[in-house]
């Protein structure tokens, strides 16, 4: 999918809406015999592949499940440490599922607040008076576009670097927000958006924007 996610941040920097629009990446499950030819290491609360990329298992993928049972961070379902478990030849052959770890909602909240602060720093660093904040953040795999309204709400869209028309999409998302979130009398301002109509219309707008882009959906 060319548009990956949408984030809406309120005036105080809190994330009030988040949508992931990309197709879930395929997880890879394989059976291994001792010794394991992948190099694994702990990273934050997960066990990730450090080296030995092959067959769809890439560096950075996390261990998601062992023998069908989902791991709990660095521990297996029955409480054993994953790295110790895999270092013991008696446990083999073992079937391990690898995949890309998706951000948890707490992580997303934290990252959104951090971006809110960076946005403010961006406008202060400017040599010109009255500069806007960060409007675009570019990496080799995605571009983050940010639009801040005059009322202080920020709309962020993460999209493929080649995707065009994101500015119009951001304005459209603003319209959808002002229609389906603000005009809902039961929605309180600055609170998380839980409006069905907002979801539906947002997804529709994303699809329209993707179709209008220079290429169709691809992974």
């Amino acid at each position: 999918m060319a548009i990956f996610s949408v984030y809406v941040v309120n005036k105080a920097g809190g994330l009030i809406y988040q949508l992931d629009h990309y197709a879930p990446r395929a997880d890879t499950e394989k059976t291994f015999s001792f010794p394991l030819d992948l190099v694994l290491r702990p990273h934050d609360e997960r066990v990730v592949v450090a080296f030995g990329q092959r067959d769809g298992i890439r560096v950075g993928h996390a261990v998601l499940a062992i023998n069908g049972a989902e791991v709990n961070g660095r521990f297996t379902a029955d409480g054993k440490d994953v790295l110790e478990f895999l270092a013991n030849p008696a446990n083999y052959p073992v079937s391990i599922r690898f995949g890309r770890h998706r951000l948890s909602s707490n992580e997303k909240l934290m990252l959104a607040s951090m971006f809110h602060s960076l946005f403010a720093i961006g406008s202060q660093l400017s040599p010109e008076v009255g500069s806007s904040g960060i409007e675009m953040l570019e990496t080799d795999t995605f571009k983050l576009h940010c639009f801040q309204t005059l009322t202080g709400i920020k709309f962020m869209v993460l999209a493929d670097p080649r995707q065009t028309g994101i500015d119009a999409l951001l304005r459209k998302i603003y319209e959808i927000y002002s229609d389906f979130a603000l005009k809902n009398p039961f929605y309180s301002l600055e609170m998380p958006i839980r409006c069905e109509l907002f979801d539906q219309n947002l997804k529709l707008a994303l699809e329209v924007a993707e179709k209008a882009g220079p290429f169709g959906p691809g992974s």
Binding site: A120, S123, Q124, V129, G130, S131, S132, G133, Q148, T149, L150, T151, G152, I153, R171, K172, Y174, E175, Y177, S178, D179, L182, K183, L189, N201, L204, A205, V208
Partner: protein, 179 residues
């Protein structure tokens, strides 16, 4: 149901009479609920305020106005763009103070009072359209402009024109968290 920036009004025509009648019914009910005119006025202002804080984003999303750089620009935008968009009338703007933070919007046509001749005797100090004051105040508050908005003259009370006064309260100094 996507709307283009130049929103086509004919898609969603609701009768103006219905709107005017609804507003009239609202004021009439408030008059029944509250004895004092000040209470009714305050209630209308509060309601207007909660409309204004939501309406502002709708206004900004559809009109795509740039950030106003001065109070007079703001007053002009309110009169020429916002009033036109929502009520279909364009009041004239005049600046009524040397300090440049007091403005008046003079309405020669006010659709809300189309069917109202004059206020009843016992409601002499009722501001019939106080909702509008609340809307403007709420909307300005959301773009970080504190203002006091009130009716300076009211045709319903016997004055020649209807005049809304907007007094901006604070000069916008260079704020850290810029828009």
């Amino acid at each position: 149901m996507s709307r283009s920036p130049g929103r086509k009004q004919e898609n969603h025509k609701i009768s103006r009479e219905l709107f005017v009648l609804t507003y009239g019914a609202l004021v009439a009910q408030l008059c029944k609920d509250y004895e004092k005119d000040e209470d009714v006025n305050a209630c209308l202002d509060r309601m207007g305020h909660s409309i204004g804080i939501r309406l502002i984003d709708d206004f900004l999303a559809r009109s795509a106005v740039r950030k106003c750089r001065s109070y007079s620009e703001t007053a002009d935008v309110i009169a020429q763009v916002a009033f036109k968009m929502y009520l279909g009338v364009t009041p004239s703007v005049s600046c009524s103070s040397a300090t440049g933070n007091e403005f008046s919007l003079i309405l020669d046509k006010n659709p809300l009072v189309d069917f109202v001749e004059e206020l009843p005797a016992e409601r002499a100090s009722l501001c019939y359209c106080n909702l509008l004051c609340g809307v403007i105040r709420g909307a300005l508050e959301m773009v970080h402009l504190a203002a006091e908005v009130s009716f300076l003259q009211d045709r319903l009370k016997g004055d020649a024109v209807t005049e809304i006064g907007i007094t901006f309260l604070r000069k916008p100094e260079d704020r850290k968290n810029r828009k």
